[in-house]
């Protein structure tokens, strides 16, 4: 028996990981806690027994084909955000972020200590998939506006680049939603083809030059109070791995969450300071009446989506219950402290 164990331990694995983000993207592809960093960590921890080759979007398959490719087993792993799969599994978006949902601390608590991760695995099981958090950008910004937004009325007729669920909420308030690939956001915003654009946060947005196209930077992260990077793994492949390698993957993924989050927090702080002090950016939260109106619409939208889809309802209920519990704790612990 000991010989047999050793044989299995020394068996090595060569996997492919695809990514929904293009080559060179900081955070999403390279940098501390990024998917390429994760691959290096796993290789080092396993002494080369688990070798994951990383391919950015377009290198092996197009950006959003990772779900299908991992499910079919053509690649073993994929790095992305779960809300990209909302067209396949509507409930998946809860595992990236929820508008007016929990912040990063709450989200992590729900995923790791609440039912979050369990529900995520349950949801993906029928597709032959398993997923883990592998990174976090922290809170994202409302976005860049060419003109100040002072009342709900100002949203009516506004042309904005904003994908996903938040786009639906905005459109209820009269915003005209424009879907644009990353490369066209800048010229469109600069020339006024669109009046506003959401992207990520100060560090990533500055890299795209968005501050040269619009000066009003609204900072209320209502639509993405946190943002979880998803490590997607083919379930059959996962089950075939020895326990120690499984554990290394999980630990490397958790380390990546911490590292990428702290990297984002540090870089965003520097970038926002630079934008405000050197680039004439006016950074401010959205006016309160707008935020409350957005919240009303979001609450209705989420509730009606949950009622239409039993899978979503189950995740929604768990998420909302946890959020309520976490919020009352945070209201007494964190909140008073933040105002100091």
């Amino acid at each position: 028996a000991p010989a047999l164990v050793r044989a299995q331990e020394s068996k090595s694995f060569n996997f492919k990981m695809t990514n929904a983000y293009p080559p060179g993207s900081p955070f999403y592809v390279q940098g501390p806690g990024s998917p390429t960093d994760f691959c290096n960590k796993v290789k080092a921890m396993s002494g080369g027994r688990l070798n994951i080759s990383h391919f950015a979007a377009g290198e092996l398959i197009p950006a959003l084909e990772g779900f299908n490719a991992v499910a079919q087993g053509t690649v073993e792993m994929n790095a992305a955000n779960a809300y990209f799969w909302a067209g396949n599994i509507p409930a998946a978006q809860f595992f990236t972020t929820v508008p007016f949902g929990m912040n990063t601390q709450g989200m992590m608590a729900w995923l790791y200590q609440g039912d979050g991760l369990k529900l995520w695995h349950e949801l993906y099981e029928p597709h032959g998939l398993i997923a883990f958090p592998m990174g976090n950008t922290g809170v994202q910004m409302t976005g860049w506006f060419r003109e100040p937004i002072e009342s709900v009325k100002d949203l009516d007729g506004l042309k904005m680049r904003i994908p996903g669920l938040a786009g639906k909420v905005y459109s209820e308030l009269g915003v005209s939603v424009r879907l644009l690939p990353g490369g066209e956001i800048f010229p469109a915003l600069e020339r006024g083809v669109i009046d506003a654009a959401e992207f990520v946060g100060p560090f990533q947005d500055r890299r795209l030059g968005l501050h040269n196209a619009a000066k009003y930077y609204y900072t209320t992260g209502w639509h993405e109070p946190t943002n979880v990077t998803e490590l997607l793994i083919n379930k059959e492949v996962w089950d075939s791995l020895p326990k120690d390698l499984q554990m290394m993957i999980q630990m490397a993924a958790q380390a990546s969450v911490l590292e990428s989050l702290s990297w984002s927090e540090a870089n965003n702080a520097d970038a926002l300071k630079d934008l405000v002090e050197n680039e004439g950016v006016i950074a401010q939260p959205l006016p309160e009446p707008i935020v409350s109106r957005l919240k009303e619409v979001t609450d209705d939208t989420l509730a009606s989506m949950a009622n239409a889809d039993p899978q979503m309802k189950k995740v929604y209920d768990s998420y909302m219950t946890f959020k309520k519990k976490h919020a009352s704790w945070a209201a007494l612990s964190e909140k008073p402290l933040l105002n100091l």
């Binding site: 909302a86 067209g87 597709h127 939603v177 424009r178």
Partner: protein, 180 residues
């Protein structure tokens, strides 16, 4: 043989007609979307997605169509110096390889379309278009048409190897003078 060739190419031509209409629809749709947004701030997500959904039939149904109208790019440096039978032989090889490529890709993409069908994959954006498997189904369809065109071209080449004077010219209703 001539009637077989023409019947096969009738299929290519008919679906090419559909692709031609998609081009007109694309021109009008993108222009309309731009104007609606600029003048009235209207921009339904479904109409924006329809823009790139229309490219798929144009590109894929157009493959066999461009081959039928001999707009496939080839280097005729040596070819134009070949004697007639050798030209026909080169055409036959090209046509048979076309059949092979078309068949492999059509076969490879069936599982892919099937997966999208089983998932009932749709747009991740609220208000986007559903039923992505229809969009994906143009891949096997387009390459299957390429197989059909390849068979027609093979028959044509075989006839010319047999007797170089045979000319099973395609039934072209339109001129082909515009080639890239």
């Amino acid at each position: 043989m001539k009637s077989v060739v023409h019947r096969l190419e009738w299929l290519v031509e008919s679906l090419g007609g559909l692709a031609r209409l998609c081009i007109l629809a694309l021109v009008l749709l993108v222009a309309t979307n731009v104007i609606l947004r600029y003048l009235f701030s209207i921009g339904p997500v479904a109409l924006q997605e329809l823009e790139w959904h229309l490219v798929s039939p144009i590109a894929l149904l157009g493959l066999s169509y461009s081959m039928k109208h001999r707009a496939d790019v080839r280097i005729d440096f040596l070819y134009e110096r070949f004697p007639a039978r050798l030209c026909a032989a080169s055409d036959l090889i090209a046509a048979l390889l076309t059949v092979a490529v078309g068949a492999i890709i059509a076969w490879l993409s069936l599982a892919y379309v099937n997966q999208a069908y089983n998932l009932n994959e749709g747009s991740p954006d609220p208000g986007g278009l559903p039923m992505r498997y229809l969009l994906k189904a143009f891949i096997p369809l387009g390459f299957l048409l390429l197989v059909i065109q390849g068979i027609a071209d093979s028959l044509r080449a075989i006839a010319r190897i047999h007797d170089p004077a045979t000319d099973l010219a395609p039934e072209n209703k339109l001129s082909t003078e515009t080639s890239a």
